[in-house]
Amino acid sequence: MSASNWKDALQGLMPDKLAHEIDIFQAQFELKRQGKIEDKVFAETRLRRGAYGQRYDNGQRHDGKQTRPLNFPCGDLTKGPDTVWDAPGMVRIKIPYGGMTPDRLEVMADCAEEYSDGILHVTTRQDIQLHFVHIDDTPDMMRRLASVNITTREACGNSIRNITGCPLAGVCKTESFDISPYAKAMMEFLLGHPDVQDFGRKFKPAFSGCDDEACGLVWMHDAGYVAKVNAEGQRGFKVVVGGGLGAVPHQAKVLSEFTPAEELLPQIQAISRVFARLGEKKNRNRARIKFLVAKLGIDEFRRLVEEERKTLPHDDRWTAFLKDIPDHFTKPLKDAVELTISAKDKPEGFDEWASTNLYKQRQDGYYVVTIALPLGDFTSQQARGLADVVRKYVGEDVRTTVEQNLVLRWVSEADLPKIYNELQAIGLAQGGANTILDLVACPGTDTCKLGIAASRGLAGELRTRLLGKYGELPEPIKKLHIKMSGCFNSCGQHHVADIGFYGNSRKIGNHTVPHFQVVLGGQWEHNAGSYGLACGSVPSKAIPAVIDMLTEGYLKNRQDDERFGAYIDRLGKKQVRELLKPFMEVPDYTEDPSYYTDWGDPREFTIGDMGVGECAGEIVSVFSMEASKAESIAFDAQIELEEGSFAKADELAYKAMVKAAQALVRTQFQDITDDPDDIVAQFRSRFYDTELFFDKYAKGKFAEMLFNRHDNPPASPDKDQAHHQIEEAQLFIEACYACDMRLSASPIGGGV
């Protein structure tokens, strides 16, 4: 007799532990319906199961004219604070080190088709996300995923997130060894481990096979591992901790130059315990491990980890996985056969595709094929077609990448034209992988509750424009990386792009205009070796012209083989700012209303969907003038940083924050003095204590940055500290703009 539900149908196919956890999760739905679970508790529960909220899940949507209710049939039932039960959400599926099999791909395709919108989205951390999923469908979806041993557990929430890894692991020419089995072992060890359940915030580890390439991006992770072999031939890892992008990017610090493989798991356990014990818990905005490492200093953090390690009770799993590591974690399905096809017999477009989408493995006769996914998306139908291609040509292994693509490894050279043809037939043979066409974007305002501007809309527009002229682009331009985020939270990894953008907004008269902050000079290579700095905010609709200006200037003025980042460094931020200035102008609404909408969205732009509605308000000109001075001071701080005057840079960044605070205070208190103590005190009492400054998601986070710097000026700031201070100043100024916008739109704003 056939089963009438997935729980029965998949009995015995799911790992017992996962099946049991999903049953408990589903049982909690009923308790929530009965009002026996608090909203906050249920929200954290579903987050730890990988079920996220999505834009408009507060039951409201701005249609460009007004905020309208979305009258879901569930009534008052919620799945978290201010989160309507029936509102569609996102489910994130963890893909450790990006490794998938055809079977798993097919099950995810089924889930996308039956519970989502038929699209599988690859994230910048190698996960797969499905959007527009109803919470009621999540237990069955999780069961189906569990039946092929995939989990959404701890894909969200304050725990160990997906463990990412270089997608070329095992076939790369520059790696020390294949990191895949180590990343897998760490994932299995930490999943649900008691020592990772009490973090104040999420924790993201990453593995890389070498120092020089970008694939693992270890320097921007909470914990990063670079494969090393010591003089005795022993395998181990260089370990770095405390990196992260987010609103304030930090480069990780070296915890250990060489941690033997035997110590990999106990060491992360010790790190987890120290983080859980000493990491911030109350203020989630300073709760990532990067803040703990910065506060303690890496030497003290290292000492604490080493002390903690000594106290850990022995666990056989620390080393058990080592004896199971095969010589080759993945193997070819087919023999390496040379490609002997004549030029005239090659499929049309093959050579161009091959020039960007192939990587010659270190094993002779084999290639890695990159499947370039536009904006990280592919369909269920394509996923099934791809599963067939994987089985036919490479066996079991297909991987996601942090550039939102897929790779097939161990492709025999002779099969390349055939594989190209078969990918072409399912719409997956797009060229331009790892080039300027390979744009990276977070979901932004498409689906994210925190999105300010349309990062995917912008990426789609840029892609269309670049596709039209790709053939004529000179090589140095083709090599550039462009990445964008819908807000300052950096999910699009804009800090490590040659040209990065993050969304913000500006009030012009009675209208709000979508903008993107231009971030230049980030380094993708060397595992995200350095971060770019914000150079100025430009209206969203001017971004394509900014890219043309920057790339044309680079082409014309670069010296020899100068890379883009070096070119920007040589120009200096001051000159870059001058170059951007003409693009910062916003035409009057009557002259060009298109500036007042975002890419791919015809509604008049609003930030109301972030939670607070807007109506037409008067511009507070005194605020705008003073806030723009604050921006200038922050810019001067960048110049000082660039010239190596770290103390000056730090001081100017602080002054910029004080100036912005003063601008905001003046909207309520005309006679505010220039004394920083007075300004900060007034700001605190008028905007922080009253929570007027708080936005729905960041709360008082950016105000605390001002208070912290005001109360604790650094004695002798180094480059990192000055850099952080500038980033914080920029964020604080943005928050002041946002606060002014909210208050000027509110009947109680501006004059209290």
Binding site: R61, G64, F72, E114, Y115, I119, H134, P374, G600, P602
Partner: protein, 197 residues
């Protein structure tokens, strides 16, 4: 069933510009132009042979999609309605909303010009691998329900009904060809009259 969908192909592919559909769907949300709670517009025009432009709803999604390489108007119902216990009634309702949605788009005063839809071919799909996996047996047993629902709305003879794919991984699909199919406007008139009575 988990999901049931129906779609109609456009008469002239060149008449459809995905970018032009985006503001139309946004307007539908503001105006409540079609049935159901409408939530947001999802833009997938960058995905080859993908879902195109989607109007995400609570009960179901509307889209102008390209999964067969040519544009089609599709409605997919996502949630069961307690009042529709019979499969034939469920299919009937999905067809009704597809026709009304396509007609609303066809009558849209868009500067890009009118979009016409062929009514002589309808594709019905059931994405429910638990209750209706794509097997020959299921095709045979469900095709009568599809045939009956189409004949009821069209008042015309179903000429052929084919199983779209024998690949068990693909949702169970029915390609229905109708002899002497009435025009879209007439079909919409019929379903509206039937609903009113």
């Amino acid at each position: 069933m988990q999901r049931i969908s129906a779609k109609l192909y456009v008469e002239d592919s060149s008449a459809v510009t995905p970018t032009a559909i985006i503001p139309v769907f946004h307007r539908w949300i503001s105006d409540g132009a079609v049935e159901g709670l409408l939530i947001d517009v999802a833009d997938y025009k960058h995905v080859p042979e993908g879902p195109g432009i989607m109007l995400i709803g609570h009960e179901g999604d509307y889209s102008v999609e390209y999964t067969d390489g040519v544009p089609a108007f599709r409605y997919e119902r996502k949630r069961d309605r307690p009042s529709e216990s019979e499969l034939r009634e469920q299919i009937h309702q999905v067809l009704r909303l597809t026709l009304i949605g396509a007609n609303t788009l066809a009558e849209n005063p868009d500067p890009h010009g009118p979009i016409g839809f062929r009514t002589d071919e309808v594709v019905v799909s059931i994405a429910d691998r638990l209750r209706a996996p794509n097997t020959a047996e299921n095709f045979e047993s469900i095709k009568h329900e599809v045939e009956a629902a189409v004949a009821e709305i069209y008042g015309a003879v179903v000429e052929t009904i084919e199983r779209i794919s024998e690949d068990a991984r693909v949702p169970l699909g029915f390609r229905v060809r109708i002899d002497k199919a009435p025009a879209l406007k007439e079909l919409v008139g019929r379903v509206q009259t039937a609903a009113a009575s």
